[in-house]
């Protein structure tokens, strides 16, 4: 087996050194009735060529975004990833190290995480950020739990524009943690009245912008309403690139900002691994979940970085920890950070404008398709269409014509009676030809 360096001669010598006659003796602590007598009914070892052949065949059975005009978003977005990003994250020292437990030989990881925390804080307009969570949805659940700890209240209000998967994750965790959720009805046109739902028993409002239907939300009035009642505003985003063009949650008064960071540096990869972004106010530092990297000096007075304030974390605090998270998403955070340093502020703004322009162009083209209506007054790179008939069926029909058209709302909310709605995203990757193909395929399928 190519990955196992020990030879049979080594194994014999090592067994002799230990004083065990065979492998059964080595496993003497395992009750003998538990040891498998025969090998399991599973295939035997395979060469590189065989494994590659097998798995490539599986990969070929999928219609990849690269091989079709592609307009799917709703929480995960296709963007161009500079070649250098993927090269850099595959450096052995980044790929094959672990949590920086020994800072003297982990400064590479610690410094890029310190840079990452700073970039996330700048991007979201918040004071501090942590070193990443699993993904946007779990970061969102952590934000609700944190708001409960801070306000000592246990009721969260969910906007009807929150990604339904995020709402589901919140429902699950709240159910088991014994917390209350008030979920407002799906709000396709961003007309919900959140403010009147807030009272002194509410710990936080969870509000997404751009929302899952693509609408842009002004957080400021809701932040104000929250603060009047001693509640916190949790701002959510699923498209990090939007922050290059849109007012930051910090600017609009958010207390905690969480989001999905996949858009920068990370491929779609059928849903994961991604990275959760988590940012908040300095005053909430001690209640923040997850790992934090801080600057310090070494014994020679040189600048360096360490994992800090770990008295909040499970390995020190155990059942009193602010979260149970241990392994997080460092390598995805590295990809995010490299992509963002390559872009820089000017590049990010240009990228955001290119995305917006692409979506605006598609919306304008769709105006000529009879029976199709764009529901958004404002949007970034994603919007919702009302189509004649069933959107899921339309998507299947367009896929047969080789166009991946978007996410039918019924896929996310099967019982909401919104079967004629389609969420469409258009990014910088789409060409004019792709958008023409979209319009043609839609005309053909209707």
């Amino acid at each position: 087996m190519r990955y196992l360096p020990l030879t049979d001669v080594d194994r014999t010598q090592m067994r002799e050194a230990i004083g065990v006659a065979d492998f059964a003796a080595l496993y003497a602590d395992v009750p003998s009735e538990l040891l498998l007598e025969a090998p399991l009914d599973l295939p035997r070892a395979k060469s590189e060529i065989e494994v590659e052949r097998l798995l490539s065949a599986m990969a070929k059975r999928n219609l990849s975004a690269a091989s079709a005009p592609f307009f799917i978003g709703a929480g995960a977005y296709r963007h161009h990833i500079p070649a250098s990003v993927d090269h850099l994250i595959q450096r052995s020292e980044f790929l094959t190290s672990y949590t920086p437990y020994q800072p003297e030989i982990s400064q590479g990881t610690l410094q890029y995480l310190f840079e990452f925390q700073t970039q996330v804080a700048m991007l979201t307009g918040m004071e501090i950020a942590n070193a990443s969570m699993y993904d946007g949805s779990t970061a969102c659940a952590e934000a609700a739990l944190m708001a409960h700890r801070i306000t000592k209240r246990r009721k969260a209000i969910l906007s009807g524009g929150l990604h339904p998967h995020y709402a589901d994750v919140l429902r699950t965790i709240s159910h088991f943690a014994g917390d209350e959720i008030v979920a407002l009805a799906p709000d396709v046109r961003a007309r919900e009245d959140i403010a009147s739902a807030i009272d002194d028993s509410v710990s936080c409002v969870i509000l997404q912008t751009p929302d899952v239907f693509g609408n842009l939300r002004d957080l400021a009035p809701i932040a104000e309403a929250c603060h009047r009642h001693g509640a916190l505003l949790v701002a959510v985003f699923t498209e990090a690139v939007s922050l290059g063009l849109l007012k930051s949650p910090g600017e609009m008064g958010a207390d905690i900002t969480v989001g999905e960071g996949q858009s920068l540096g990370n491929p779609l990869s059928f849903g994961g691994p991604y990275l959760g972004l988590f940012a908040t106010r300095q005053s909430h530092l001690r209640q923040t979940p997850g790992r934090l990297i801080g600057e310090t000096v070494d014994a020679d007075g040189r600048r360096g970085y360490v994992v800090t304030l770990s008295a909040r974390e499970q390995h020190i605090r155990r059942d009193k920890a602010t979260s149970n998270i241990c392994t997080n998403s460092n390598l995805c955070a590295l990809a995010f950070s490299i992509h963002l340093s390559l872009l820089g502020e000017a590049g990010l703004r240009r990228l955001a404008r290119a995305n917006h322009a692409s979506a605006v162009d598609l919306v304008d083209r769709l105006a000529s398709v009879a029976g199709v209506e764009t529901l958004n007054e404002s949007f970034f790179n994603e919007f919702t269409l009302r189509v004649p008939g069933d959107a899921a069926r339309l998507v299947e029909a367009m896929a047969e014509q080789g166009v991946l058209a978007g996410v039918p709302v019924s896929r996310l909310l099967p019982d909401a009676g919104l079967d004629d709605l389609l969420i469409v995203a258009s990014t910088e990757v789409d060409t004019v030809e792709d958008r023409e193909a979209f319009v043609a395929a839609m005309r053909g399928a209707l």
Binding site: M1, Y3, L4, L6, T7, M14, A17, I18, V20, L26, A28, D29, L36, P43, A45, E50, L55, K60, R61, N62, A65, G75, A76, S84, Q90, L95, T96, Q102, E115, Y134, V169, I173, F176, D218, E251, S269, F270, L292, I293, T296, D298, A299, D300, Y305, A311, H315, I316, S323, N324, C326, T327, N330, C332, L334, S341, L343, G344, E345, L348, R350
Partner: protein
């Protein structure tokens, strides 16, 4: 040899020391108007942003591509890694990460696939998830699987949620609020239990390092929801009373959650399903070689017994003839709901399956046996100079020492670990598990050659002899040959600086 470190640390003008180059943060290199990505400015754009356009500066520095390459390559060289040396971090299974797996995960048919594209266009991806499930279920001897948990700790939540749902179905969710957890458990176990409103109740292990049937029996009662037991445990020992413990827990109406972080000792050798386990997470980033990535991403699929299977989260896979369907909504059924957006860490599923297919059933068993063999080899090679807290006995895939062999030397476990850094090694896990004074938990994995193990032993023996000879400064002043010397963690915590700012 042991001059004061000041004598050589800043002897160069630049602060660099040959290949060890200093590198400031991007904020001191880049400029907000520089970019390493060429993007065409849209020719014509009438924004539809309402009044929500961002106006003020963001402050994000940009780097040209050569500057970015240099920055991150320099940073990378300040990290230790498996590829560069033995990384015996106990409980973390730092095994070799095959590059074939990286290559396959990057095939367009996997990497460029959207989680919400029509399932009819992603049948290959679903087939891969089904195949991985089949392997994991067969290896563990369990009935059902949830692939979506994002890491081990997330898997713990998943397992405990299924347990609480099963209790609720019996009408006992309100009365059973205690989870039994041994003192040696990883911190995530009590943290996960507490997060869901359970009270952790500590059970003590015996003098032999394992939990006895009697200790569990004594702690059981009508208020107990479950036991969380790590097997092999974090002392490197197989919980040999596990079958009797499981029986006791079941008889008392509780469930058995097994922390499977240490599955690398027994994969292909023994099955948790035969031990009475009801739920267990697997860390794909440990046992199944998906890269640790500097601290993630991980992946923590959970396998369930028949009793808990109905409560598994969404999404899950259903085969309908030739077609695979991912069930994303559990309405009306007993599923406890959704743990995360989308379907889990698909990219790690690809890597784990590539690892599994490469090994085959025979290779997986061999890998486990080699891991156990290597740990025991280190144990016997070091047992005359180090001290084992539970007597001289066989261990599983990791070997635990305490610090009594350092008594009177003035060298602590931490000092010893730092001296290992100077010798070119990543230290073992230290001060964990908490039940052992000055713990040193060594996990070599199956990826080390005998030559590598022998070199490690020779180095450890030299260090120990040196400590015993009173060469204390070799330890207390270590590391001296790393990119940084010891860092001031107290200062970092007292006045936290968590982001860069111009000063």
């Amino acid at each position: 040899m042991l001059d004061h470190p000041k004598d050589f640390s800043f002897e160069t003008f630049s602060g660099n020391r040959g290949l060890d180059q200093e590198e400031p943060p991007i904020f001191e290199i880049g400029r907000t108007d520089t970019s390493g990505v060429d993007i065409e400015e849209p020719a014509h754009l009438e924004p539809r942003l309402g009044a929500l356009e961002r106006k003020g500066p963001i402050g994000l520095p940009g780097l040209s591509e050569p500057e970015a390459m240099r920055h991150y390559v320099r940073l990378s060289r300040k990290n230790y890694s498996i590829d560069a040396g033995l990384y015996p971090l106990g409980s973390c299974t730092m095994k070799h990460n095959p590059r074939l797996n990286e290559k396959i995960a990057r095939l367009a048919g996997f990497a460029d696939l959207h989680p919400l594209q029509p399932q009819s266009t992603a049948q290959g991806a679903l087939a891969l998830m089904e195949e991985l499930s089949r392997w994991l279920l067969t290896l563990t001897g369990m009935s059902a699987i949830a692939l979506s948990p994002k890491a081990g700790a997330h898997g713990e939540l998943c397992g405990l949620m299924a347990i609480e749902s099963a209790l609720a179905a019996r009408g006992e969710a309100q009365t059973r609020k205690v989870v039994l957890i041994p003192q040696s458990a990883h911190g995530t176990n009590p943290a996960s239990a507490a997060l869901l409103g359970f009270q952790p109740r500590v059970i003590e292990a015996g003098a032999d390092g394992v939990v006895s049937e009697e200790a569990v029996a004594k702690a059981l009662g009508p208020d107990v929801a479950a036991i969380m037991l790590t097997n092999p445990n974090t002392c490197g020992l197989f919980e040999r009373n596990i079958v009797a413990i499981a029986r006791r827990v079941h008889e008392a109406g509780g469930y058995f959650y097994c922390d499977g972080a240490n599955f690398n000792a027994i994969a292909g050798v023994a099955r948790p399903g035969d031990m009475g386990v009801d739920a267990m997470h697997l860390n794909l980033h440990k046992t199944f070689s998906t890269p640790h990535g500097g601290g993630g991403p991980g992946s923590g699929p959970v396998v369930f017994s028949e009793r808990l299977a109905p409560f598994a989260p969404v999404p899950f896979l259903l085969r309908e003839g030739e077609t695979l369907r991912l069930v994303e909504h559990g309405d009306g059924a007993q599923s406890f709901g959704r743990l995360t957006a989308f379907h889990g860490q698909f990219g790690t599923f690809v890597r784990a399956l590539a690892y599994i297919l490469s090994h085959g059933a025979d290779g997986l068993a061999q890998a486990s046996r080699d891991a156990v063999l290597s740990a025991n080899y280190l144990r016997v090679a070091l047992r005359d100079v180090m001290t084992q807290p539970f007597g001289d006995r066989l261990c599983m895939h990791e070997v635990l020492f305490d610090d009594s062999f350092l008594e009177g030397t003035g060298v602590s476990t931490l000092d010893f670990a730092k001296a290992m850094i100077d010798e070119g090694y990543h230290p073992m896990t230290i001060y964990f598990p908490l039940v052992v004074h000055g713990a040193m938990l060594i996990e070599p994995t199956e990826s080390e050659s005998k030559r590598s193990l022998d070199l490690f032993v020779a180095t450890m023996r030299d260090l120990i002899a040196s400590a015993k000879r009173g060469e204390t400064r070799r330890f207390t002043e270590a590391p001296r040959h790393a990119p940084r010397r010891r860092l001031d963690e107290t200062a970092a915590a007292r006045k936290p600086v968590l982001r860069w700012s111009a000063s």
